[in-house]
């Protein structure tokens, strides 16, 4: 147990990395995911195809393989960002596919009467989406989005195999140097993740309650 206390600064920094990755990749995924969602419901067949192809590739490939593709594919194309951004990129591209699906399910949950009304009032595709559908979809979208973010928080643990000193990476280092304290170290780091996930869940539930509409 003392091991954890002694390394607390290092572990806090490591969880800091986890949270930074979560925020950077998460925000990016929200943006790209929503855009892809819009692609998938758009009128232009080519855009629909792009959206579907993207989601098919990234939803069906293991994150580990995505990491390999990014880390060893991009440099071949001359793109060599700093390590943190490579990791964020892999997480961001992967999670966007799931955000897209969550957004799409949220959009489908909105009563089609709303969209029909918007159209009959004369709004275009972009306007109906932006002003009527998406704001209402927002509330329906929170539970699946929370799921996606929780998954992202845990997926960050993969960066341990790709050079980023996050919580899982430090955990392995601690276990190596203190082979007698394996169990204590595990539980300590696991609790850290549980805490992050709990915060996300609570935030989501709070947001949902705030947006509660009397139906």
């Amino acid at each position: 147990m003392d091991v954890l206390w002694e390394s607390r600064q290092m572990l806090l920094a490591a969880f800091g990395q986890t949270i930074s990755l979560l925020i950077v990749a998460g925000l990016g995924a929200l943006a790209l995911g929503t855009l892809l969602g819009a692609f998938r419901v758009s009128a232009v067949p080519a855009l629909r195809a792009v959206g579907t192809a993207y989601v098919t590739v990234f939803r069906n490939t293991p994150l580990l393989v995505v990491f390999l593709l990014i880390y060893f594919g991009l440099p071949e194309l001359g793109i060599r960002p700093p390590q943190f951004w490579l990791a964020s990129l892999a997480l961001f591209l992967y999670t966007s596919a799931f955000v897209c699906e969550a957004v799409r399910s949220g959009v489908n949950a909105v009563d089609s009467g709303q969209a029909e009304a918007a159209r009959s009032v004369g709004m275009g595709f972009g306007q109906s989406l932006r002003l009527i559908v998406l704001p209402q979809a927002f509330r329906a979208v929170i539970p699946p989005l929370a799921s996606v973010f929780i998954a992202l928080a845990k997926n960050t643990s993969l960066v341990a195999g790709f050079g980023i000193a996050d919580a899982t990476y430090r955990m392995r280092g601690l276990i190596n140097n203190n082979p007698g304290d394996v169990y204590a170290i595990f539980v300590g780091v696991a609790l850290g993740y549980v805490l992050i996930v709990a915060v996300i869940s609570l935030a989501a539930r709070g947001l949902e309650r705030q947006l509660e509409v009397a139906r």
Binding site: Y71, F72, P75, G161
Partner: protein, 296 residues
């Protein structure tokens, strides 16, 4: 609709078979040569000692690396691993009266070495296992049977010519190895730990990293594969003493047995044979074998 799909499947299957006849990559990892191990016919050990147990059982499980060419590597196409550690394993097993085919090779990645010994999942660990006082608090280590040092692998003709040049730079290494701490603490570089050595080599080749660091023995193999693009630079700046791991740190009998076996392999030439067949293939001569530590 289904007829078209069946036809498509048939085409794919046929083309795969045709293509399959075309490739002949790799060599399957068969070891040419290797140590000429004599299996002890009448190995006698003290009653109740670990060695007696293993000899009676007639089989032994040895933990090795599967991802370090030259030291412990198992090709996807092979059934058993090959490498210098494997040769040492065969020598030790021979001294126990156990034949090569009765050895079970278990993959022990760096993090698993102590846990596997403690759990009894493996009887011995011969996996580029550096001897350190911390590790010897929990498991036993006998040796060293090979001494190497940390070095750097860089792109040929680059700025980095030694460990002093990496200050403030990012260096690639493998998670769980002692190399990471050394390069950070003593030379002020930022170490990035990846899963396998080949991932680091690839990233030095494609420019993501200026250098990678680990035991010189491993680096030489990779440099040998890409002599125009890679080179090993600098003197060894740490000492990695590879030892054989066993379960109980207080098992002096086991320690003495292992030390005896190691010294015997120096004398009868099996150590050199093992080296030449594995690490020696990179073009290095077998170094002078190190003197094993006395057992406590």
């Amino acid at each position: 609709m289904s007829l078209n799909r069946t036809k498509a499947l048939a085409v794919v299957a046929a083309s795969t078979l045709v293509l399959a006849a075309c490739g002949d990559a790799g060599g399957g990892g068969s070891s040419e040569g290797g140590a000429d191990v004599t299996v002890e016919e009448d190995a006698k050990f003290p009653e109740g000692s670990t060695m007696a147990e293993l000899a009676d059982a007639g089989k032994v499980t040895i933990g090795v690396k599967f991802d370090q060419p030259g030291i412990g590597f198992k090709s996807a196409a092979a059934d058993v691993p090959t490498g210098f550690d494997i040769e040492m394993g065969k020598i030790v097993a021979g001294a126990l009266g156990i034949k090569e085919d009765s050895i079970t090779w278990e993959e022990t990645i760096s993090d698993n070495r102590e846990p596997f010994l403690q759990e009894g999942k493996v009887d011995l660990v011969i996996a580029s296992y550096s001897m350190t006082p911390d590790r010897q608090k929990v498991v036993g280590q006998a040796g060293p049977y090979y001494v190497t040092g940390q070095q750097l692998l860089v792109s040929k003709g680059g700025d980095i010519q030694g460990p002093e040049d990496v200050k403030g730079k990012e260096v690639c290494s493998v998670s769980g190895s002692t190399s990471i701490e050394t390069i950070e603490k003593e030379y002020g570089a930022t170490a990035r730990g990846f899963g396998t050595y080949s991932e680091c080599v690839q990233q030095v080749l494609n420019g993501s990293f200026d250098a990678m660091t680990t035991d010189g023995a491993i680096l030489l193999g990779y440099a040998a594969e890409n002599p125009d693009e890679l080179e090993v630079v600098g003197e060894a700046f740490s000492e990695e003493r590879y030892g054989i791991g066993y379960q109980d740190p207080k098992d002096t009998e086991m320690c003495e047995f292992l030390v005896e076996t190691i010294e015997k392999s120096y004398e009868d030439g099996t150590w050199k044979q093992g080296f030449d067949a594995t690490l020696g293939q990179a073009g290095v001569d077998a170094p002078k074998p190190p003197k094993p530590d006395a057992c406590k």
